[in-house]
Amino acid sequence: MYPFTYHQPDSARKAASVAGKAEDAKFLAGGMTLLPTMKQRLASPANLIDLAKCDDMRGIEIKGRSVTIGAMTRHVDVANSKELQEAIPALADLAGMIGDPAVRNRGTIGGSLANNDPAADYPAAALALGATIVTNKRKIEAEDYFTGLFETALEEGEVITKITFPIPAKAGYEKFRNPASRYAIVGVFVAKKGSEVRVAVTGAGSGGVFRATKIEAALTAKFSSKSLEGVKMPAEGLNSDIHADAEYRAHLITVMAKRATDKAK
């Protein structure tokens, strides 16, 4: 790890203000990606803005037909929230499937979305549920937020403060884990709201999270895993690596979509 200047603001507003003044700054949420990257000397921000004391960025609130989760809310808190388990059980379920207990006790939803790791779980939920990413500056629809591998619509100094998820009629998430890292090789989030079905896939796409329109169409016709029998996803545009090639990933998308649909509630 290279030396850096450490900041510890106690509110989202102050954090943004520090970021506005500091050169080459990075926000530190749970640190589950940033800290190992810094330790390996692959990242060397001059200023590190730790959001741990920003209590206004934490918590889960259910209002009307939507759920709002503070960006600094840890995976374990999302997974264990009784209210969320009622409102969007698939989202709580997803949070409980991230990493291992150590990661879930540190990692946060905002950190995950800001990092936009192509194998992370939350991007699938955000895209399938049609979430709104709220920052210190604006509101960004999930559709516009994910722009590529580790790339988002966030600008320099912009920090996610909370995320709002519309409550679906039914949703489910299933993932196929990388045998080594246990990140998603393929993660599929299916959500049904009214007559609309949205299906988002993480882990597989060479451009990051994407919507599987072929599967959406099949599930819109009838929201049942049987609708996906024989639905073959194209391998084009999917990742190939030492753990899974594009063809296998394409196959797994349909399998995971079926299982997510069966799980959906």
Partner: protein, 788 residues
């Protein structure tokens, strides 16, 4: 059987300090004034070194020194050695390229040591190491063994222009060809035995220290055999003569073979300690461990088995290419030769065997012994052939094995080994019973109802352990003898210290060795200490590997205890005023035959030291004896493991449903510890079969250099094991021990793969059988079955 004697499942004495964080590992050792070393490693698989510029790095804060290969050469520090000479078929000696501890002119794998930076702190050394500028002339890498031996391939070492270290063979070629000529059926198989990274929990580490007053070096290091390390560092590398070099291997957190070898890093730390006048410490980080620990396995094999019309094996021929990496590590040459081919007969009567092995240089990390070392590779060959041959000839795999088992002993195989004792049928029948083999069909149908494919696989393994008779290994090219030493020191109050040349790095010697003493002397194990891992305390020893500590290490203790008992009887005779021929020793008590006169062991110990009763007599005061034990044969642990698993054909995910292990380890000192060794071994074997695999890309970059990409078996990947035993005593050592440390890792891979192939319609599945590999095989089977 006493509560702490032989055969009792005594809780491990050493665990208290380990689980309370009171262990003393090498990285826990900090010497006054200690400096830290960081190695500059090659980012290229193959390159010439044109220039090393250390000017900027030397100016960095805290830097004490930066050394390169030139500094080692100037000090006449020798290169790392390979201690086992292998001769090719044509009689020529193996082609061993020089292996300098810091590269001289050329690097040969990613992670190869180029320079060392020594600074006040680790952080400073690391900062400065980044400032060392090395001008490389990048050469093409050669990773693939087939490519390495092709004409025009990049040459790793000039001494081996075809990248071939040796073309070795074993067995009778003509007899084998004749056997195949009259075969009714020939089973052929192509096998890849995947490359593994050992991944001991504790990474390698070293602290070198030098005392100017006494001109003595001390090296603390993560070693399985500190005496061998001292011998090599002294006699070959030339750090210091043995009496001026102390090597201490304190608590060591797992080795699995990877800590047998003498590496560059500890060599540099101890040498540099004198150069900089400060103790020098180095601890590998995990990436360094992946890159620079000697890897294991990595064979490509074509094997054929000839059968007669009754399903009896007539012959076996095997052709193997073994990747030895970029340099010959300490014992690397022996692993794919004498630790491999002599085991190809398995548990079977095979009249003719011929095996050829080519050792190949590639621009990858050196490959050497890893748990099982050659024997897992051999077992995989023979047990995969047994499965495939049984399927091809329509015979139940269990029945096929029964038909070919060795049933009388001693049994001389055509490949060196003489099996001394065993009962292979007994282990098979017991395992089949425990595994409920007869109802597998029913369970397969139940799985099918759930859309899952169930398979069952048998592995009947044999290994040669208790390594090894010195004369035998000497005749095969070993540079050392493989005896073991022991010294038993009885203190005046009757407590005992046992000094052993064996080394415990997870095996539990502090408990099992104490159990032996407890049994023999009738004292509590709490009154016994086991001392190991320090060349200043233990005079000489050969260390721990090859499942040798029970069979060889404890045999040396038995011999020393025999001497203790003999002398103690003489002391007791003086005290009890009787002839020593009339003294009996039983349950910790010396008594005069036919009388009620007796004295207990601690009292005899005291009498031995006060010497009041025999002053001026021939008998010397004191009670301390030492012994060396050189075994007369290898030992032959054997057993049967049965794996039963379910495959999800939709994803290729495999779940091991049940595991039955029946092992014959001969006499067992501590069944709990033995069972633990079996568990750990199977987990590593499952790791090889289903999860682990070191992958280099074509440029020689290790793609699996962290746990993000290298899959270790985890608790939820392994089943609850059903472990049983059969027992035939080993006739070649006094305790009847065969050894147990490697059995699981040897037995498990073919059991898994045989089960997997059974699940997927006998499609071949290569290791590691990751979900994608299993899915592809399952798809193939489904397509084929649909077509049939």
């Amino acid at each position: 059987m006493s509560e702490t004697g032989i055969g009792a499942s005594v809780r491990r004495k050493e665990d208290f300090r380990f689980i309370t964080g009171n262990g003393h590992y090498t990285d826990d050792i900090n010497r006054p004034g200690q400096a830290h070393a960081v190695f500059v490693r090659s980012p290229h698989a193959h390159a010439t070194i044109k220039k090393i510029d250390v000017v900027a790095a030397l100016k960095m804060p805290g830097v004490l020194a930066i050394y390169t290969g030139d500094d080692l050469a100037a000090d006449k520090i020798g290169g790392l050695i390979c201690g086992w000479m292998i001769h090719s078929k044509d009689g020529s000696p193996m082609k061993a390229g020089a292996h300098p501890a810091l590269a001289q002119g050329k690097v040969r794998y990613v992670g190869d040591h180029v320079a060392v930076v020594i600074a006040d702190t680790y952080a400073q050394a690391r900062e400065a190491a980044e400032k060392v500028v090395v001008d490389y002339g990048v050469l093409p890498a050669v990773v693939d063994m087939e490519a390495a031996v092709k004409k025009g391939a990049p040459v790793v070492h000039d001494v081996a222009s075809d990248n071939t270290v040796y073309n070795w063979h074993l067995g009778d070629k003509a007899a084998t060809e004749a056997a195949f000529a009259k075969a009714k059926h020939v089973t052929k198989l192509d096998i890849v035995n995947n490359r593994l990274v050992p991944n001991a929990m504790e990474p390698r580490a070293a602290v070198g220290d030098y005392d100017f007053g006494s001109d003595c070096f001390t090296l603390y290091t993560t070693s399985q055999n500190p005496h061998v390390a001292r011998l090599v560092l002294s006699a070959f590398i030339g750090i210091a003569p043995e009496h001026k070099l102390r090597v201490i291997a304190p608590d060591v957190g797992g080795g699995f073979g990877s800590k047998i070898f003498i590496y560059a890093e500890e060599t540099i730390c101890v040498w540099a300690a004198k150069k900089v006048g400060r103790p020098v410490k180095w601890t590998a980080d995990r990436t360094e461990a992946f890159l620079s620990d000697a890897h294991g396995r990595d064979h490509i094999t074509h094997a054929e088995m000839a059968l007669d019309d009754k399903g009896k094996i007539l012959g076996l021929r095997v052709n193997t290419k073994a990747n030895l990496g970029a340099y010959l590590s300490t014992f690397s040459s022996s692993v794919p030769t004498y630790l491999y081919a002599p085991l190809l007969s398995g548990q079977y009567n095979i009249p003719a065997i011929y095996c050829e092995v080519d050792g190949i240089y590639t621009t990858t990390a050196p490959v050497d012994a890893y748990r099982g070392a050659g024997r897992p590779e051999a077992t995989f060959v023979i047990e995969r052939l047994m499965e495939v041959a049984a399927r091809e000839t329509g015979v139940d795999p269990a029945q096929f094995r029964r038909k070919n088992f060795v049933t009388s002993f001693p049994h001389q195989t055509p490949v060196i080994m003489c099996y001394d004792a065993g009962n292979y049928n007994a282990a098979l029948e017991k395992a089949l019973e425990m595994a409920d083999y007869k109802n597998v069909g029913k369970r397969k149908r139940e799985s099918a109802k759930k859309g899952l494919l169930r398979g069952v696989g048998i592995s009947a393994y044999i290994e040669a352990c208790g390594i090894a008779p010195s004369a035998a290994v000497g005749s095969l090219g070993a540079g050392v003898g493989l005896w073991e030493s022991a010294e038993v020191r009885v203190n005046p109050i009757g407590t005992v210290e046992v000094l052993t040349g064996s080394h415990s790095h997870g095996q539990g010697h502090e408990t099992t060795f104490a159990q032996l003493v407890s049994s023999r002397l009738g004292i509590s194990i709490d009154n016994v200490s086991i001392v190991h891992g320090d060349t200043d305390k233990v005079q000489m020893g050969m260390g721990t590997y090859g499942s040798r500590s029970g069979a060889v290490g404890m045999s040396a203790i038995v011999k020393a205890l025999d001497k203790i008992e003999a002398k103690a009887k003489k002391v007791a005779a003086y005290v009890l005023e009787a002839s020593d021929k009339d003294i009996e020793f039983k349950d910790g008590k010396f008594s005069v035959k036919g009388t009620d006169k007796s004295i207990d062991f601690p009292s005899v110990a005291l009498q031995a030291y006060i010497a009041h009763k025999f002053s001026g007599q021939e008998l010397e005061p004191g009670l301390k004896e030492s012994a060396f034990w050189d075994p007369t044969n290898f030992t032959f642990p054997a057993g049967v493991h049965i794996c039963e698993l379910e495959v999800d054909p939709q994803t290729g995910v495999t779940r091991i449903d049940r595991w039955t292990a029946v092992d014959d380890f001969g006499e067992v000192i501590n069944p709990m510890i033995v069972e633990g060794q079996v568990h750990g071994g199977i987990a590593q074997g499952i790791g090889q079969a289903m999860h682990e695999g070191a992958i280099y890309n074509k440029d020689g970059q290790l793609l699996t250099a962290s746990y993000m990409d290298y899959t270790m078996p985890r608790a939820d990947d392994v089943p609850s094991y059903n472990v049983g035993m059969t027992q035939t005593r080993c006739p070649s050592n006094p305790l009847g021990i065969k050894g147990c440390g490697e059995a699981g890792a040897i037995a498990a891979p073919p059991a898994v793969i045989n089960a997997l192939t059974d699940a997927v319609g006998h499609e071949n599945v290569a290791m590691p059988a990751t979900p994608i590999a299993v899915w592809r095989a399952a798809q193939k089977a489904i397509t084929r079955q649909a077509a049939e």
